[in-house]
């Protein structure tokens, strides 16, 4: 339980610091909406194309804006070497990982909760599929993105050009999440039966588990000094 309390403490610290300046969350939100608007210009927002491309637009907006947050999550800890301060503290290093995963997850969910309705409004998109299923897919997709993303952000934070490196090393590894999330979102929008997305949901769940467990094992190595 002490382990969980310390994770909560790290999340508390990150969220208090973030919401004092709102640096990350505002950038993520604005960027997410901007991506949607750019796509509105790229594809005709009133034609039949909308239905076909909307799942892609949504997930590109989510993941691209998510990268902004991930980029800062460990780089911020390099100021005043606070990461070293965390590593000196009597807590298992993986608490740092899980704390950061939860913080990034919360920031992503806030971004999504605001930009998704914005997308519906701007594209005059009538949501017809199951909202519950959509939430499940968004939850699993976001968790997968955040878990491997947080891990690779910690990895790339060691490099001076981490902000350039992170997207390049993250997106190839992320391919299964993107495919799974986009495909199942598309099926939901087309009012497909749950059976049609079960395979994808399982894939996302397996991915989430693998990339929460593997970083758990490897995180010590990434933080090594």
């Amino acid at each position: 339980m002490r382990f969980l309390a310390k994770i909560a403490n790290i999340v508390w610290k990150d969220l208090v610091a973030e919401f004092r300046t709102k640096e990350m969350i505002s950038a993520m939100l604005i960027f997410s909406v901007l991506v949607i608007i750019v796509f509105a210009f790229a594809f005709d927002p009133v034609g039949e194309t909308v239905r076909a491309v909307s799942p892609g637009i949504i997930w590109v907006a989510f993941t691209f804006s998510g990268i902004l947050g991930l980029n800062r999550s460990f780089v911020n800890e390099k100021q005043n070497e606070t990461l070293l301060g965390l590593m000196l503290a009597p807590v298992d290093r993986t608490a740092i990982f899980f704390g950061k995963v939860i913080t990034n997850f919360i920031l992503m969910v806030i971004t999504e909760a605001i930009s998704l309705p914005v997308f519906f409004v701007l594209f005059d998109f009538r949501m017809e599929g199951s909202l519950l299923q959509l939430l499940l897919v968004i939850f699993l997709g976001t968790l997968g993105f955040v878990s491997i993303g947080t891990f690779l952000a910690a990895l790339s934070a060691n490099v001076r050009t981490s902000e350039i490196l992170l997207p390049i090393i993250l997106f190839p590894v992320l391919v299964p999440v993107i495919i799974g999330a986009v495909e199942s979102t598309a099926t939901i929008f087309n009012q497909g039966a749950f059976e049609q997305i079960v395979g994808w949901v399982k894939l996302l769940a397996v991915y989430d588990v693998i990339f929460l467990v593997v970083p758990f094992i490897l995180f010590d190595y990434v933080l090594e000094v």
Partner: protein, 230 residues
């Protein structure tokens, strides 16, 4: 000491002979494919390169794990060299694939699962090479690269299944290069070519390790000289 060892030279000669045999079997021994003609010959090298690419990344994965456990820089060198060889062979697969595709299905690129997975694999290991190319102290770099080597390799099967399911829906499978009625002589040529390429891989791996060792020695000599000049 920097002279290549006897065994390395021997391996070189064996590889040379095996490659000659593979060339003979691919171009002369195996019959010419009826529909595609000579272009089909690319198949032997395409498949053998793909085998080498995946094998090289498997070695990266294993060497990375052993490095993290033992912290012996030798394993880091093996992972590094193997990844570089892997990128080269993946590139060959990605170049020969479209040439084959153009002749076989009249299209340069098809989002066929194996080819697409290879493309993603290529990006994953480019990322690996980029991590290695970033400025960090040697040991830190070795550790981070090893971590990514493991992550990347674990990801590949998931990528493959995701792409397979995705492709099955959007693009019906038309591909079956090793399936069904392959001519026995073609199969012999393929096996010869895979064996030759495997030897080529090990030869390149040894060569790469020798180069790394030479660079390491050069660095040490430079350091001693610098210390002496003070």
């Amino acid at each position: 000491m920097l002279q290549p060892s006897k065994s390395h030279q021997l391996l070189g000669w064996i590889t040379f002979v095996l490659v000659l045999v593979a060339l003979y079997m691919s171009f002369i021994y195996a019959p010419i494919e009826r529909v595609m003609g000579y272009v089909q010959k690319i198949f032997y090298f395409h498949v053998a390169s793909a085998w080498n690419a995946f094998f090289a990344f498997f070695i990266v994965f294993i060497a990375s794990i052993i490095y993290l456990i033992t912290r012996n820089m030798r394993w880091d060198t093996i992972a590094k060299v193997s990844a570089e060889i892997g990128v080269v062979f993946t590139t060959i697969v990605l170049v020969t694939g479209p040439i084959w595709g153009r002749a076989a299905w009249n299209t340069w690129w098809t989002w066929e699962p194996r080819l697409t997975t290879t493309l993603i694999l290529w990006f994953i290991y480019l990322a690996y090479v980029l991590i290695r190319a970033s400025g960090m102290e040697t040991q830190k770099k070795a550790t981070l690269a090893a971590v990514f080597g493991i992550i990347g390799f674990i990801d590949v099967p998931i990528v493959f299944f995701a792409i397979k399911w995705w492709g099955a829906k959007a693009h019906p499978l038309v591909f079956g290069e090793s399936g069904g009625g392959i001519h026995p002589q073609m199969l012999h040529a393929l096996i010869a070519s895979v064996i030759a390429f495997t030897f080529l891989y090990f030869y390149m791996l040894q060569k790469g390790i020798l180069i790394e060792q030479a660079e390491e020695r050069l660095k040490k000599i430079k350091e001693t000289l610098r210390a002496k000049s003070h």
